[in-house]
Amino acid sequence: MMETPYILSAKGITKTFPGVQALENVDFSLKRGEVHALMGENGAGKSTLIKCLTGVEQPDKGTIEFDGAAVVVHSPQHAQEIGIATVYQEVNLCTNISVAENVMLGHEPKGVLGNISWKKMNEQAAQSLSKLGVAIDVTKPLGIYSVAIQQMVAITRALEFQSAKVLILDEPTSSLDAHETKQLFDVMRKLKSEGIGIVFITHFLDQVYEVTDRITVLRNGRYVGTFETSSLPRVKLIANMLGRSVSDLDDLSRSKQKVTKVEAGQAVLETKEMGKANYLEPTDLCLQKNEVVGLAGLLGSGRTELANLIFGIETPDTGELLINGKKVTSFSPLDSLKNGIALCPEDRKAAGIVGDLTIRENIILALQARYGWFKFIPLQKQYEIADRYIKLLGIVTPSPDQLTKNLSGGNQQKVILARWLATDPQVLILDEPTRGIDVGAKTEIQKLVLDLAGQGKSCIFISSELEEVLRCSHRVMVLRDHKLVAEFGEEVDDQTIMHTMAGDL
């Protein structure tokens, strides 16, 4: 039989959900030994395509060829049997049992009496893991290891027992720090050299350019094209994903200059040695009118902790917080709300939106909280406010009465922004406002931050994406190990910040 260079190829995949054309005539082909990025905004059809390839959904039309032969993938189990393994963002392993058990589950080596041979099991598991360059104690419970290690274990399991020829990684890096990501990439390169085809889905452009060979772009359920990574400039990739021309994207970098200069004067918000034991070391931060201060640092470096202390989610036990020069004495979200501070929290689903309430109700929630129980905003006024912000922020929805949980991630984030903007805050704290949302919405949110600063508001901008922090902020403060370690002006470059974050400068 003639060997094609393609291990997996899908042609003309079409999938319709009630009311939505999720995929329309999409082609996708994966070579042996390549890392292939699947790119697109939220709702472009990436997940649906993956689901069709792994048997979670059946395509309405189209053919899938695997290893040179046409196949119909009936179910996820079937996909695994023929050699298509998928590792999802949320690792689906058992964190309470040992690493070895996780790797070997269902394939435990037996001893003479038919009992499980723990010794053999641990040896085999350690050996399989070491193939990926992971050397850990396999007898410890999986839960004590980082998410990166857990993902490696999931990959090991997929490769070892499902003899996978195709590995699909669905946003594996969104919760990994830089070091862990590097570890994962090393593994990916190793697998690639063994001839395994890898599909890589991510929102991080840097990573796409670091590790992938080819890129397939989807937009609104349609196939845009497949490109060699090395010959596709970033702006072109983004332009393809957005369906916009390149010049549109330049606007953002220019808009920063439009922002009025920050005048030194009365600080809007100031922390003096504010901290909390085992939470955040005493920290000084000063925020002027019109200013955007970026907080950079790894996950768990203390950036979210600082935001929580300022907003009153946690109460500081040392130092003080001054707002417009006045000392804050009681800490709670309601007090912050009254003091004109707003926080868009990091975890949008758990701490941000109220999914089963409508967009209108979500938008007026904080404003209503400030008015209290008995000063109810009349319904008509509620609609006015909701309509105003839906228009202002470009929230895509047929009506303000739509349930918020039905919106895409980017639109949900805008609803939370709207909730706080409706209270007319002077200080807006944005904790990872662009995480997991598509490039278009990202750009809009960054623009909005700059506009707000231009209108006399102040922002604290927290993000894992340095590029974005640099683009939006007048000053960047770097945190490491629950401590503020450095402060930079506008002219700093991402290399310097990265090294400061890592602590090797």
């Binding site: 979200p333 309601l334 912050s336 758990a350 941000g352 999914g355 089963d356 309430l357 109700e361 109810f376």
Partner: protein, 358 residues
Amino acid sequence: MKKSNLFDKFRHSRLFWPLMALTILLIFDAFYAPSFFKIGVLNGHLYGNLIDVLNDGAPLAIVAIGMTLVIATGGVDLSVGAVIAISAAMGAVLINPALGNQLITNDILTADRTNTPLGLIVLADIAAGTLCGLWNGLLVSRVRIQPMVATLILMVAGRGIAQLITNGQIMTIYYTPYFWFGNGFILGLPVSIYIVALVFVIAWLLVRKTSIGLFIESVGINSRSTHYSGISEKNVKLFAYTFCGFCGSIAGLILSSYVHSCDANNIGLAYELDAILSVVIGGTLMAGGRFSMASSILGAMIIWTFTLTMYTIGIPANTLLAAKAVLVMVVILLYSDQVRGLINRLGTKKGGSNVESN
């Protein structure tokens, strides 16, 4: 076209399914117990099974209103039965002129008079129940005990407290003005129906004409997001439990007035479970969130219509619980998404041209 839109709107409203269930029950009655619909006039008062449903179901309907709010915050109140006993005991003791260890003689008890003004008796009833609710609310919102455990405390202790109040005796009440709440009539209809209406209007104004209703739903859906939005989810919960206690006290007032006595061990027995059932039949999710008090009242009416129907067609009282279980199952099946999908599909097939045209 407009007509079908109105129907669609109705079909998706919260009242639709409880009304459906009630209609089915009444249709059943029309065939098997036609006497159910007879309404007569006696001494200028209406009487008949339908009136009985409203009258007998009134205490449950009132408790269901309070329970709806508690469940909407994601909690549950198991103590309402005990709260009913406490407030009834309070009333009975205040009416009885001989308190404490004094020997209660028959002529004191049957004197049909009391040393306490009626207004004060009612107020003490309500205060006792509301205080119980406040206690539950404090345990849940401030001490952060799980609602089921927190209210279990009062569920167990409450009847003991009620017995302490009544000195461990079943107290018969001989005071005619007090009987009005459970037995009186206004314009031919039982007073209890007006009390249900009054409590509902109070609850509705308090919840829907202020932001409390929105906050309750928000807390029930996502209490953390609600907290982050500057809403004190503690106070919202405190309110819900306190109001539930208030509702329990009104139910206690009506029940003790209705039976002319207070038996601390048996008055309002299992009301908490029937109230939860009413709320569930009304379509409010046990997980919390969106709620409808009117639907819960309908739920209470369904339970009582069913109970009286069973009596009318001659099901023995001791097997009633088994029959009730069947009702619960049917209703819960009606709420299951799968079954609804099936019904909707059948409906669409028959309706033919029910295709979206945008």
